[in-house]
Symmetry: C2
Subunit: 295 residues, 2 copies
């Protein structure tokens, strides 16, 4: 990939992504994106990975994977079955990555996103917290080593406090990645979550430095890039400063809708007019990257 390829998440268009949606790849390429960030398909999703890979190659699109974990698929779980299912799932992600030729698998791979799994923040005791942290470190050490052997990288992503109680801040994620200390584990930062949990986007990026292997440039409210209050130029300059040349993906799936009583956190169908807006988002980040690199 060239420096800083820009990609788009598959669920910007459709969820789940199946054999019926392969034509989307040509559209995504035509918009100008260089990779797709694909939610790791579930076995029941009817997605032929060989067909998909061919289609990616035809369209000269790269692919990154986004892991889909949950409480029953969690290497940090206090329940042994859930823990094992979590480990088996991460292995499955590596298998899918191999079949598609993807190098990076990102997401909250520790396994416990809360809101969408329907669990409220739980008042863990200090001891329980320690054990969860230990399981996270040990579990990710195992997963990282498996990835390293395959030439892959898991990119662990902190989520905001409402989506997980395991890893929220960039500081925590840096500590975690350093404790695991394996080339098979890097950091995925998402400005949507950072905007809620970090003191400073710029300082967090600088601190994280070369640990970052994937980056998600999202507006504070997850609207189209440029439509919110994200200080994009500052973010891009910080990425330049740490010489980040890895992938950057967009996930502007807020949708253009402010009806009363609308469940914003819930996934909805794309806006009808999203294609030109996605193209604007892409051009905004590409031109910001280009101009910030000029003398």
């Amino acid at each position: 990939m060239a420096a800083n390829p820009i990609g788009i998440i598959s669920m910007q268009f459709v969820r789940p992504f199946t054999d019926q949606h392969l034509a989307l790849l040509a559209q995504i390429r035509e918009l100008g994106f260089e990779f797709i960030e694909l939610l790791v398909p579930e076995p029941e999703d009817r997605l032929d990975l060989r067909e998909l890979r061919k289609c990616l190659e035809v369209n000269q699109l790269d692919v990154l994977l986004a892991a889909r974990v949950n409480l029953q698929r969690s290497i940090c779980s206090e329940d042994e079955t859930n823990q094992k299912t979590g480990h088996a799932y991460l292995k499955y992600c590596l298998k899918v990555a191999n079949e598609l030729g993807a190098k990076i698998i990102g997401g909250p791979i520790y396994g416990e996103p809360l809101v969408f799994a329907g669990r409220a923040p739980y008042p863990w005791t200090a001891e329980e917290m320690n054990r969860r942290a230990e399981r996270m470190i040990e579990g990710l050490s195992v997963a990282a080593e498996a990835a390293r052997i395959e030439g892959k990288i898991f990119a662990v992503e902190p989520l905001n406090r409402f989506e997980t109680d395991l890893l929220n801040t960039t500081n925590q994620a840096i500590e975690l990645v350093d404790l695991v200390n394996n080339d098979g584990l890097g950091l995925l930062l998402d400005t949507f979550h950072m905007n809620m949990e970090d003191a400073s986007l710029v300082e967090s990026i600088k601190k994280a430095g070369s640990r970052i292997v994937h980056f998600q440039a999202n507006e504070n409210h997850r609207g189209y890039l440029g439509s919110g209050s994200l200080p994009l130029k500052d973010v891009i300059r910080a990425l330049r400063e740490i010489q980040y040349d890895g992938p950057i993906s967009l996930e502007p799936f807020r949708r253009n809708d402010e009806r009363l009583a609308l469940p914003i956190a819930h996934w909805r169908q794309p806006d009808k007019d999203q294609l030109p807006k996605l193209q604007d988002s892409l051009q905004l980040i590409r031109s910001t990257l280009n101009s910030s690199g000029q003398e």
Copy 2:
């Protein structure tokens, strides 16, 4: 109250606030705060309202109330019992306000905060959404009229997408307040939530204008004011521009703790060193208010 009294939320110190905690009021006054934002006490909280009122007067502290609603206490509920309990609760809030001499009762008074109530975002149909919006408008119309008659104001607060699916953005809240159109209903804006849902803090404040009856100045990550990325000066200037002279409260209850596997969304005991930090927060907002008003 003088222009822009600055207050602090009671759960910065303790939860629940009971007869045992009346001495905190002297401490809060000594720090320089002008009002306390008190969570509406539950009947079982053992808080003697007459004693509290005396104690507030002795310490020259004003009081605002923060309503505590939930799924079973929701004027928007599809369940009639929950709906009635929601209405009864808002009446109870007015009673408490009368007994304490409070004028404003703020919060997500529509009744359905999600995360702490343990419900994941629910995929309502368009029709269900409409009915929920109607119940919100009708329910708040009844509540607003009851407040107006008593010389009180309910201040409805949009929460971020993870805490409710009824009212998230300032735009939605403006629409709601205008539809209800009653002096007994105003707007409570909290920069913590706005930072996640609005395109621009400044534009939202200007749009909301005189509908705002209470304001919460919170950092993006809910740390001590000044420790995060909130553009405080811009926010204060916008409030000046709309000639907002109402109360502003602080709720920096993030706590100073970044252990791995820490449930940040869960309430925790105060930092041991919080008093000087609260004083710094107070001085920062007061001095920003003062200097932004100078020629």
